[in-house]
Amino acid sequence: MLNTFVAVLRRDLLLAWRGRADVLVTLAFFVIVVCLFPFGVGAEPNLLRAIAPGVLWVAALLACLLSLHRLFAQDHVDGTLEQLLLSSEPAVLWVMAKVLAFWLSTGLPVVAVAPVLGLLLDLEQGAYPVLVISLALGTPILALLGAVGAALTLGLRGGGMLLALLVLPLFVPVLIFGAGAVEAELSGTGATAHLLLLGGGLAGALALAPWACAAALRVSTE
């Protein structure tokens, strides 16, 4: 069983590595969205410092959303997905591997770049560890929830907008606790509670989302 997991994980990571441009586009999108905010709200440092946690989180969320369609689309087009579904291996297993590979190739770079963008917005020094931890806990939840939406909208016309409408309401609690963690750290109340809730959310999503996603893939391909 573990072999399947590792094989799918390695395959998807290899594909992501061969198609590095996609990952870089996601990162560039993340950077550009963050850079748009000073143009929109003005370059007043105090204002930027105040909105930095929220801006970084929203941008990370959008970057994740826009890359979600890649999760299953290619495999759906070339028939890999059907073969995987037909195989005797449990679907939950390779769905988890695919989501993990997706997160490693899009979520992790975003987490790594976020502190640099925090510098652009003059985020206070003490908040960086919490920003990174909250993103590291939160973006996997986004990937897991988004995978369900991506599986449901597989191959539909206008699938991108539909996917956004489906998953953005579900992303909101993650955004609240993720950005809330950074703000709680800045206001001095400590981010532990928020981070624990994010961790709990991740555990819950890990337990439930792969099953929903596997069921959704079956619905979409039959």
Binding site: L145, L152, A216, V219, E222
Partner: protein
């Protein structure tokens, strides 16, 4: 899966063929009940219930606002229930019921948000505040819209049914969040005034008006969902023989051409 006939059972209405005439018979009754209860409820709310000591006459919007908010959340749970039943038991009618309920739920969401804004302006001084419960209500509306958009976009009915059912179940996780959000983020919206465990903090006539309106909303939802599901059944079952028979009969009753 044919089982030996054990006489009339409620389950036989799970067959679209039996449910179609039943829905047609029940819907007018629920519509009538809804109309009567709405008149009684609004009369209680606007003429009998006393003026609120602190909020004045503005509070009377709760007679529409609270039942609509309750109903919007409850309809989502019913949708999720029918979706689960459909996925587990593989019954076509369950999916149709959840799809027939969705527009009504979305409508109640809009009514709750709209009346809430009208109440918030004189009371809080703003049409909209980013309070947890308002925000969750708006999110519930988005969940409804997502469900409706997904089921309408997918052309294959079987896939549309199942995909909608899955997203309804996933979204149902959000409904408890709505309800407990007031306790989680202690914010501007007043806590629930009606609770089953302690005495209600409002006059008996106010409570009566609100409950009557809640039942009116309930009956309205039943009537509309039953009416909405009937053409959906006909469209989905159009290859079946009984649909042709039903259509011929209805055309004859109207005295029109067949």
């Amino acid at each position: 899966m044919s089982r030996p006939d054990r006489g009339p059972s409620i389950l036989r209405f799970a067959a679209p063929q039996n449910f179609y005439p039943l829905a047609g018979r029940l819907a007018p009754w629920f519509a009538g009940i809804a109309a009567v209860l709405t008149v009684v409820g609004l009369w209680l709310g606007f003429f009998v219930a006393p003026t609120d000591a602190t909020q004045g006459e503005v509070y009377r919007v709760i007679f529409i606002h609270v039942p609509a908010a309750w109903m919007s959340m409850f309809v989502y749970l019913v949708m999720a229930f029918w979706s689960a039943v459909g996925l587990v038991m593989n019954t076509r009618l369950s999916f149709l019921m959840s799809q027939a309920l969705a527009p009504t739920g979305a409508m109640f969401c809009v009514v709750a948000l709209w009346t809430g804004a009208l109440w918030g302006r004189p009371t809080w001084g703003a049409y909209w505040v980013w309070d947890a419960r308002l925000t969750s209500q708006a999110l519930l509306l988005f969940l409804y819209l997502g469900f409706i958009a997904l089921t309408r976009t997918i052309e294959d009915p079987r896939r549309a049914d199942r995909a909608g059912a899955l997203i309804a179940l996933v979204g149902a996780v959000n409904v408890p969040v709505i309800y407990f959000s007031v306790q989680w983020w202690n914010t501007l919206h007043q806590g629930a005034s009606v609770s089953l465990t302690r005495a209600p903090s409002m006059a008996a006539t106010m409570l009566a008006g609100m409950l009557v309106m809640a039942f009116a909303a309930w009956a309205y939802t039943l009537a509309v969902a039953l009416w909405r599901v009937r053409p959906m059944i006909l469209e989905r079952e159009r290859h079946a023989e009984w649909v042709g028979a039903v259509l011929t009969r209805e055309a004859q009753r109207q005295g029109g051409r067949t």
